[in-house]
Symmetry: D2
Subunit: 349 residues, 4 copies
């Protein structure tokens, strides 16, 4: 690709994931942003929609039909779930699609309909789709046209569970996933519970036992375990912070399995990875250690009951959980080094 | 007690729990604060130590030996663990002691020594001690001279577990307690991890598998279950907010037990309580709904795996988890209505 | 009034000021809440609208026409500006109205129209109105039927300026008021800029030079100075916190006037007040020292240029700036002690 | 410098400014970090001191005497005021020093002694010093050996005042600077007022009329105005956020001067600058629009009194106010493009 730019359009450019992709793209040497689609904000400048991007020399927001798709190489889609599939289905086939919505994550369209409340109208496109959990699905991603980037929760959860499931170290009937997310995970839409005064200085669970990311997590665990029917107990909570996600996985070791084996399994899985790190014994991962970056930290701990362990996984929900992973996949699809544009360290404090 | 004031001294008046007791005492009709002990701050006025209490007409901070204990009815102790027992052991026997430290919570002194790093020098005093989880131990509290108020985590955890354990509804070998606390739980001492810049905009676990409140929780569960050896998996996390605590209890129902039974058991246990409330189906408890108040909210939810339930319990760690529960116990000890001084509603937003 | 309850209806009960009045009313011995009006939320229970009030035994939300106004003694109105006057004009004349909106604050109806964008349809009611800055207008408030409670900014500003203006100590052509407010000042409506992710971890000014509270401040200053034409420079900013307001008044002393004179003037003005306090030299007022309470703290400081002083004034915008001041006025109107129901100390931390 | 690395040592690497320089240096193509000095933390790894830098492949913390200064090209100093001059005075003369402390900012050593409480022991070094406000002092910086980077407040203030002072548009006897800073401005040391529970959910002024940055601001204004004796009214406040600084400058136009002239003057001054931007009419600068970046936003507004204007200036105190400006100066000193390593966009939300 040397020298040639990847002409990129953002679909849904006025949301947080679209905005964060633009932030990352600014220092990416090959991505050239040639269009920003934001239907309800069409006509506005970037500085009106995102004042922090006013230095970035970006085009104004337009409607989808104002784009000349013939000159587009890549579309990065940050639309809400249920609205992405319709526009993606209309794009010419030479456009690579990096989709941050949920519309192509669930391969079973009935499961999609059940959890997302609308029929899937484009099941035919699935032959072109790869699930975009980069570290665990590189080969498929490289050859696909549509990358269904995982949800933020599934990203953090699967990084922590897949190695253990593949190595058959934990009891698949006892997967307790206590999840916590910053408020940006709820998007930029206007909802009472994401007002500063409602979510500030407070902590609460939500969607207990029925969050939409549950079937996605189960789908990938089933695939890794070579079975069906895994059911996880997934409980998300809202944290009074903007960014960051941390999963506390309460797991039961299989008979004969040990924490040391689990640690070895993680270290082997991620030893060559640039973004996924197993922290040393005694270091405790926190969301503030990955804020703004594409890194994922994983820590392993002994629980008090002898057969239980705790695996902590943390990411920035808008980066590794969304825009960063999207860029990582875009790099892969276009044959670039996976870390291109993603070398920034976390912002602390 | 009508007409007569309860002359009260605060030991450790410059910390957050001492300060919050003073806030609550201000509208208590019977408590009269006659002394404030704060060794390192002795000589300072209240407005220097706690500007928000400058309207309360309180005495200056003094050293312990400046108090004439003969005229004291009650001592409320907010000292750090390990330092409370020494001063409590010197108080004359007519002084009722409401102790918010951990020094008399663990009835087994070897367990105390193991978890708190010092020998217990006053095991003889235990004959005068009652464990101060008011709703579950009223009779003992009324007749005791020293009330060992529970830690903030045990308070919230036990409110959620004791009814189920007593009714034999859950598997005692699978008690997963994912706990979250605001930063005030760490006290007012200077530590790097409680600086605004370190704990703000971030979320992280700590003391995984070895928090000091663990043996206290287990002691009370063993007592309720009439057995020994219960081991809980207790994992606390630090939330970027000042006040509030929420426990997500991941529990396994015993064969034949149901969520409906669990709910009925809670409703029966707490039906006459002023401060502990089982929220209706569909309402999700959050720390912002109890902030500043002595209330505890409990919610019950079905998990996705058939045999698992989730019980959420939330309190203000400084009130029901500390100063409010201390006042509730003081009321009980002095024959007052339990709610005296504690009728304030939560502050929201 | 002894024994008899003040039957009170809240108009606009689902907003933050209405909700905070309900919190305060819960421990008020004489106020009885008999109706909650919230048009768009009519039919909902309090626990759905304000989970933190679920312990308060309050009636459900209704529409205005469901109230039998014959049995109502007082109406406390927390509606947005422009919508209060219409309902207030329909109330029977025996109902005392404590209005927290701006609709009867500006005595010049053309000024009202200019700043609030609609005509004032009920100028006839002004003969029954008193401006509700309690400490500076008690006599008028006691005899009025409609109390126009000041805006939160005017409350804090006027507490800091009126004594100096009346004593003719400062230059009225150089009143620079740099104001800061927590996010609850913007109300509970859905706006992008009050989302957690937009206002959290950030600080910014707004409505520079044209905030609606400006003419109200000027009106009262003109009145106190016995002149017309005062123009203040008023610049509000949004602080990432829920509650609290602090005004930094940059003032120029008149020739011959001194900081000591200014301090003496404040101390004399407020020496008998329960809620307004001049802090001692060296103590710096902060919003965290009044949070949740009806107190106002005022501090005076020398600026570096010889003729300038800085006066700091801080309140909780929802209490002294709104619901608390409303209750203080209600007490006055009904002949109760002004502090009734308002003795609570600030919540810190 | 092509190909050759700038071998750089950080002095005071465990503080926030040192840490943020390391974050920025990670994507700088020419800076090579060869030593980290942190006396009290000597022996610790970076991941113990700054977990967010654990991915950066940095050396462990050492004491100053463990560095071989012969191979060092640049020293970036993030020590507290008063401790920097002693170590800087011992460095060999080939080492370029980028000093983020206050030790060489005040050219009058008596003023230094008066405000910083210790004698200046190395006045001889001043012949090698340039004041590091890059946009206004490039020529001097390029030729200097020691760059005294401005304080965070002076940086934001001077960006907003120097153009107006040089163009003689504002009254120099009426410079009212109302400043607000996030908590990281107070450093990483342990102080009660920077604990989460003390500064969270609260807003308060501090050091009113006597902040140490005052003489530095006045020194530079005097220089620009070609006079002596300017006295500013500077009032800083602490905002409950980690990063960000915003100055509200309340200014009086000279007779005949206009807001339009002021705007033209700013636009001309900064038209070729990469990091200083005059925002368009109607856009309001906020700290969240520069967070984590080296950008400075300036907005101009009409105040209500006819002759007054308001100039808003905002930066990230740790970047443009410290580590970013340090890197900008280092680039200049070593003949690199000024923007090298500083192209990152702000992190929002």
């Amino acid at each position: 690709m040397s020298g040639k730019k990847i002409k990129t359009v953002i679909i849904g450019a006025s949301g947080y994931t679209g905005g964060d992709f633009l932030r990352l793209a600014h220092t990416h040497p090959t991505i050239e942003i040639i269009g920003l689609i934001a239907n309800t904000h069409a006509g506005k400048t970037v500085e009106e929609v995102f004042p922090h991007l006013q230095f970035a020399n970006l085009p104004a927001m337009v409607k989808a039909d104002e784009i000349d798709w013939q000159e587009v190489d890549a579309a990065v889609c940050g639309l809400p779930h249920g609205t992405a599939q319709d526009i993606i289905s209309t794009l010419p086939s030479h456009v690579k699609v990096i989709d941050m919505s949920a519309d192509f994550r669930l391969t079973d369209v009935q499961t999609y309909e059940q959890w997302y409340g609308r029929a899937h109208d484009h099941p035919d496109l699935y032959t072109h789709v790869a699930y975009g959990l980069t570290e665990h699905n590189r080969a498929a991603i490289q050859g696909a046209r549509i990358i269904a980037c995982p949800g933020c929760y599934p990203t953090a959860v699967l990084m922590a569970l897949l190695p253990l499931v593949k190595a058959d170290l934990v009891d698949l009937s006892d997967l307790v996933l206590d999840a916590k997310s910053g408020v940006s995970g709820a998007g930029r839409g206007l909802k009472q519970n994401t007002l500063f005064c409602e979510s500030g200085e407070g902590f609460s669970p939500y969607a207990i036992g029925n969050h939409r990311h549950t079937p996605e997590i189960e789908q990938e665990l089933n695939k890794a375990a070579g079975q069906a029917g895994i059911e996880v107990s997934f409980t998300p909570h809202l944290v009074p912070m903007s960014r960051g996600e941390l999963i506390t996985c309460h797991l039961t070791l299989k008979d004969g399995a040990s924490l040391a084996q689990a640690r070895a399994c993680f270290e082997e899985t991620y030893q060559d990875e640039n973004f996924v790190h197993v922290v040393p014994d005694g270091v405790v991962p926190g969301t503030q250690h990955v804020r703004g970056s594409n890194h994922c930290l994983i820590g392993l701990f002994k629980a008090r009951p002898a057969n239980k362990i705790i695996v902590i996984s943390t990411i920035d929900n808008l980066v590794k959980g969304s825009a960063g992973q999207a860029m990582q996949n875009l790099n892969l699809v276009f044959g670039l080094q996976e870390t291109t544009g993603l070398n920034g360290l976390p912002l602390f404090p």
